[in-house]
C-alpha cells in the first residue's frame, strides 16, 4: 500500500529534457518525509491507475510527440476525470502544450489538445531558448523559479487560467506578456526544464502537498535540509544574471561595430562580399552558430496526420 502514486506518462518517449529528474525529485522528497511512494510508468496502450495522486507528462521530440498524440487523445476523458477528482496533473514543455485546448500549426491547421488548461499554442519558427528566472505563485505559495526554456510554440492564456509565474518580457509563454506556465485548479503547465522540480524544491513541495491532500489534509509538510538544493538554485539564478549582462555587453559592442563599419565602407561593400560566398550565407558569426542553428519548430504539427484531429481543411504539412 502506498501513500502516493506518481504516474509518469510515456517515460520512455517523453523524456527529452531530464523529465526523469522531476519524478525522482517528487519521489525522494515524499520518501524523505516518511511517505510510501509508488511510481507507475504508463506507456502507449497501458492503463492509467485509478489511485494516481500526481500525473506527470514530459516533453519529447516532434516525431515522438506524433506517436504519443494519438494515444493521449484516447485518454482525454480519463485524464479530465482524474483532474476533476483532485489529481495533480503537471505538463512540462511539450506536455504543457498537450494540456491546452488546441495547437495551431504554421499552415493554419489545428490539433485539439486535452483541454485541461484554457491555453492555446501557436507554432513559430523562432524558438525561445535560454535561462530563465521567474517569480512564481501557486495555490497561495509564492517562490522564485529558475530553469531553462527551449520551445518554438507561443502559448496564450485564456480567461480561466492563472499564469504559474511572471518572467521578463522576452521569455515565458509567448515572449510578449511576461507570463510563464499556466494553472487551473490542480492542473499545472510550465515550459521550464532544469529539471524544474529538481532545482525548485519549493514548487516540488507545493505540488506534493496538494497531491497528498487526501491523506494529509492541510497539514504542512515537514521541512527538509535543503542546503544543496538552495545552493544549486542560487547558482542557476546567478547564471541568468551573468548571461543577461553578457548579452547587454555584446549588443553594445555589435552596435558600435555596425556604426563603425557603416562609417567606413557602407552597406554596398558588405553585400558584395556576401554574394561572393556562393550564396550559402557564409557569414557565420559565432553567436549565430550557437544561438540559432538549424532548428525545426518544436511542434505537434504532424500529430494531425496520425490522429486525424486536424479541424482545418488545409491539412497537415509534410
Amino acid at each position: 500500500v502506498s501513500d502516493l502514486v506518481i504516474v509518469h506518462l510515456y517515460p520512455r518517449l517523453l523524456r527529452t529534457y531530464g523529465d526523469r529528474g522531476n519524478v525522482l525529485a517528487l519521489k525522494r522528497r515524499a520518501e524523505w518525509r516518511g511517505f510510501r511512494v509508488r511510481v507507475d510508468e504508463v506507456s502507449i496502450g497501458e492503463r492509467l491507475p485509478r489511485d494516481a495522486g500526481l500525473i506527470l507528462l514530459g516533453g519529447g521530440t516532434d516525431r515522438v510527440q506524433e506517436i504519443v498524440g494519438k494515444d493521449l487523445a484516447a485518454r482525454r476523458d480519463e485524464l479530465a476525470e482524474a483532474a476533476q477528482g483532485g489529481t495533480v496533473v503537471l505538463g512540462i514543455c511539450g506536455g504543457y502544450q498537450f494540456l491546452g485546448t488546441r495547437y495551431v500549426m504554421p499552415d493554419g491547421g489545428e490539433i485539439d489538445g486535452l483541454s485541461l488548461l484554457d491555453v492555446e499554442t501557436r507554432a513559430t519558427e523562432r524558438r525561445i531558448i535560454g535561462r530563465v528566472r521567474a517569480r512564481g505563485a501557486l495555490w497561495g505559495e509564492a517562490f522564485d523559479l529558475v530553469g531553462f526554456e527551449n520551445h518554438g510554440g507561443r502559448t496564450t492564456l485564456g480567461a480561466s487560467v492563472q499564469p504559474l509565474a511572471s518572467v521578463s518580457r522576452r521569455h515565458g509563454n509567448n515572449g510578449r506578456d511576461g507570463t510563464e506556465g499556466a494553472v487551473r485548479a490542480t492542473v499545472v503547465g510550465t515550459y521550464l526544464h532544469g529539471p524544474v522540480l529538481a532545482v525548485n524544491p519549493v514548487l516540488t513541495d507545493t505540488l506534493l502537498a496538494r497531491a497528498l491532500f487526501p491523506l494529509n489534509g492541510n497539514e504542512p509538510l515537514g521541512a527538509l535540509p535543503d542546503a544543496e538544493e538552495r545552493l544549486a538554485h542560487a547558482d542557476a539564478a546567478r547564471r541568468v544574471r551573468e548571461e543577461h549582462r553578457a548579452k547587454k555587453r555584446s549588443m553594445l559592442v555589435a552596435a558600435s561595430l555596425i556604426a563603425l563599419s557603416l562609417a567606413f565602407g557602407g552597406p554596398r561593400a558588405a553585400r558584395e562580399i556576401d554574394d561572393d560566398d556562393g550564396g550559402r550565407g557564409d557569414r557565420v558569426a559565432p553567436a549565430a552558430v550557437v544561438e540559432r542553428p538549424l532548428m525545426i519548430p518544436y511542434d505537434l504539427a504532424r500529430t494531425a496526420e496520425i490522429t486525424g484531429t486536424s479541424r482545418s481543411s488545409a491539412g497537415p504539412r509534410r
Binding site: 520512455r12 518517449l13 523524456r15 527529452t16 529534457y17 531530464g18 526523469r20 529528474g21 525522482l24 525529485a25 521530440t61 516532434d62 516525431r63 515522438v64 506524433e66 506517436i67 524558438r127 535560454g130 535561462r131 531553462f148 527551449n150 526544464h193 529539471p195 529538481a198 532545482v199 544543496e228 538544493e229 545552493l231 544549486a232 547558482d235 542557476a236 555584446s250 559592442v253 561595430l257 555596425i258 563603425l260 563599419s261 567606413f264 565602407g265 557602407g266 561593400a269 558588405a270 562580399i273 556576401d274 560566398d277 556562393g278 550559402r280 557564409d282 557569414r283 557565420v284 558569426a285 559565432p286 553567436a287 552558430v289 550557437v290 542553428p293 538549424l294 532548428m295 525545426i296 518544436y298
Partner: protein, 495 residues
C-alpha cells in the same frame, strides 16, 4: 580568454568585409587557365601567411587560442580557398561526423594513414566548424596528400561540398546539445543529407548499430560497422535505458525489439510492426571480451585480434569505424589493426595526467549516453579510487544541463567517493543527492577543486575526472598550470 577569441572573430566578421574586403580580388576562379590559377595560388599563399600571422598574433597576445581566427580571415579574403585547397589532396579526404567519438575516430584514422606512409593533415585541435577546418588548411603542411577532418554536424552542409570527401564516416546520433539542434532527429536528417550530397564514387561508413542513423543514411548504401560484447556482465542491461533515445522504429513509429544492445540505443534491432531491421552482423564488426578498465582492452576487428591501449565499448566503436574507413581508402584491415595497437588517446579522451602522486584520468563527457558509458568504464576499473564530475553550462557544453538527470550516475553511488566540480558543481551535488548518495566536496573553481581532490585522496590513487568540454579545458589548464607553479616555487626556494 576564449570569449576574447570569439569577440576578435566578431570584430573581424563585421569590419572585414568593408575595410579589407574591398582590397580582395574577388573574381578569381581557377577555371580560367594556368596563368590565372598560378595567380590565384600566389594570392592564396599571401593570404595564408596573413591569416596564419593573425592567428599567431591572437595566440601571442593571449587573446585567443588562434584555432578559428585564421580560418575566418581566409574565408573573408579568399573565398573558395577551402574548395581549392581540398583539391590538392590526392589521397582523398575523409570527413568524420556524428555526436560522440568524432575526435577519437578521426585521430585513429589519422594514425592508421600515417603508419601506412601517407602525409596526413587532420584538425586535431577539435576545432570542427568551417572556420576550424579552414584554419587547419591554412596552418597545415602544404605537402599533405590525405586529409582527415572531424566536422561538426551543423557544419557538414557547408563543408561537404567544399571538401568533396571520398569517405564520410558517421559515428552515431545521441542526445546532445538540444539547445543547438533541437532534437536528435534533426541531426540524423543533417547526416543523411550530407551522405546524399557526397560526390559520386564516395563511400559512406556508418554505425550500423544506431537505428536512427542507419535509417537516415540507408539510401546512400553505407558500409556498416558495429560492436558485439560477449562479456555478459559488461553488456548493457536489457530493457529500456534512461540515457537512450526512445525505442521507436524510424520508418513506421512502431516499437523496436532489441536482439542485443551495447550502449544507449545502439544495438541490433527489428521493428515488430514493419519488420525494418538494421544489418546484423555489419561488415566491420568489433568483438569485445571485457571492455572494462581505462587503459586497455582486447578486441577483435573483422576477425583480427587487436590490443587497444584504451578501454570502453565506445572506443571499440571508434576503432571499428576507423578500420572500416581505412579499408575504404585502400588500407588492408591487418595493417589498420596493427597501427591501432600503437594508438594513444588524445586530449581529454581517457587522457592520463600525473598530479601530485595521483593519477588523473580525464574523460570527456558530452551527453547522457556518453556519461553512462564512462560510468560503467570507471566502476569496472580497479585503478580508480575516486571520481570527479565536472559540469559547465557554456555554449560549447550545452547551456541546458537537464541531461545530467538522464545520465546513469546511480551506478556510482555507494561505490567510491564522488567530488563535484565545474560552474554547475552545485547541480551535480543535487543530482548525486537524489541518486541516493552525497558528494564529499563541491567546488566550482578548478584550483580549489584540485586542492579538494588532493585532500580526499592519497598518493598512488587514481581519480577519474568526468567533465564537459569547457570544464575539461579549465580543469586541464589548472592541473598543468599548478604543475608549472610548483616548479617555479622550487626555483624561488633554491635561489
Amino acid at each position: 580568454m576564449r570569449d576574447w577569441d570569439e569577440l576578435c572573430c566578431g570584430v573581424f566578421d563585421t569590419i572585414g568585409p568593408n575595410l579589407l574586403g574591398t582590397l580582395a580580388t574577388k573574381r578569381i576562379e581557377p577555371e580560367y587557365g594556368s596563368r590565372v590559377i598560378s595567380a590565384v595560388d600566389a594570392y592564396d599563399r599571401v593570404i595564408c601567411r596573413f591569416a596564419w600571422g593573425a592567428g599567431s598574433l591572437s595566440r601571442l597576445t593571449r587573446l585567443g587560442a588562434g584555432t578559428s581566427l585564421p580560418g575566418l580571415v581566409i574565408q573573408r579574403l579568399s573565398p573558395g580557398f577551402v574548395r581549392r585547397r581540398a583539391r590538392r589532396f590526392g589521397d582523398g579526404i575523409t570527413v568524420v561526423s556524428g555526436t560522440n567519438g568524432k575526435t577519437t575516430t578521426a585521430a585513429m584514422l589519422a594514425t592508421i594513414l600515417g603508419s601506412t606512409g601517407h602525409a596526413v593533415l587532420a584538425n586535431e585541435s577539435g576545432s570542427n566548424l568551417f572556420r576550424g577546418v579552414a584554419t587547419t588548411l591554412v596552418s597545415g603542411p602544404r605537402h599533405a596528400r590525405a586529409g582527415v577532418f572531424e566536422v561538426d554536424e551543423g557544419a557538414l552542409a557547408r563543408l561537404v561540398p567544399s571538401l568533396q570527401p571520398c569517405v564520410l564516416v558517421l559515428t552515431n546520433v545521441l542526445r546532445d546539445q538540444l539547445d543547438r539542434f533541437g532534437e536528435p532527429e534533426t541531426v540524423a536528417r543533417l547526416l543523411g543529407e550530407a551522405a546524399g550530397a557526397l560526390p559520386s564514387g564516395s563511400a559512406v561508413v556508418a554505425n550500423a548499430d544506431d537505428p536512427l542513423l542507419w535509417h537516415a543514411v540507408e539510401d546512400a548504401k553505407p558500409i556498416g560497422f558495429g560492436v558485439r560484447v560477449s562479456d555478459t556482465v559488461a553488456a548493457a542491461p536489457a530493457g529500456a535505458r534512461m540515457d537512450a533515445e526512445p525505442e521507436v522504429c524510424p520508418t513506421c513509429g512502431g516499437s523496436l525489439v532489441y536482439r542485443r544492445r551495447t550502449l544507449a540505443h545502439l544495438g541490433s534491432v527489428h521493428c515488430h510492426r514493419c519488420a525494418w531491421a538494421n544489418p546484423d552482423p555489419p561488415t566491420f564488426l568489433a568483438e569485445v571480451g571485457k571492455p572494462r578498465g581505462l587503459d586497455g582492452m582486447s578486441i577483435s576487428i573483422a576477425g583480427i585480434p587487436c590490443a587497444l591501449r584504451l578501454g570502453g565499448i565506445h572506443n571499440a566503436y571508434n576503432a571499428a569505424a576507423a578500420v572500416a574507413a581505412a579499408s575504404s581508402l585502400g588500407v588492408p584491415a591487418t595493417d589498420s589493426v596493427a597501427a591501432l595497437e600503437t594508438f594513444l588517446p588524445k586530449f581529454g579522451r581517457t587522457e592520463r595526467l600525473p598530479f601530485d602522486g595521483r593519477d588523473l584520468w580525464l574523460l570527456l563527457m558530452k551527453n547522457p549516453a556518453g556519461a553512462g558509458a564512462l560510468v560503467r568504464q570507471v566502476v569496472g576499473s580497479p585503478r580508480v579510487q575516486t571520481v570527479a564530475i565536472l559540469v559547465n553550462d557554456r555554449a560549447a557544453d550545452g547551456r541546458d544541463i537537464s541531461w545530467i538527470w538522464d545520465a546513469d550516475f546511480e551506478s556510482l553511488v555507494g561505490g567510491m567517493p564522488i567530488v563535484a566540480g565545474g560552474i554547475r558543481a552545485s547541480d551535480v551535488a543535487v543530482r548525486i543527492k537524489y541518486a541516493g548518495g552525497s558528494v564529499i566536496a563541491a567546488e566550482s573553481d578548478p584550483h580549489r577543486l584540485l586542492a579538494a581532490m588532493t585532500d580526499v585522496t592519497v598518493d598512488g590513487d587514481g581519480i577519474a575526472v568526468l567533465a564537459t568540454y569547457t570544464a575539461m579545458l579549465d580543469f586541464r589548464q589548472a592541473v598543468l598550470g599548478s604543475r608549472v607553479a610548483r616548479v617555479e616555487d622550487l626555483v624561488a626556494l633554491t635561489s
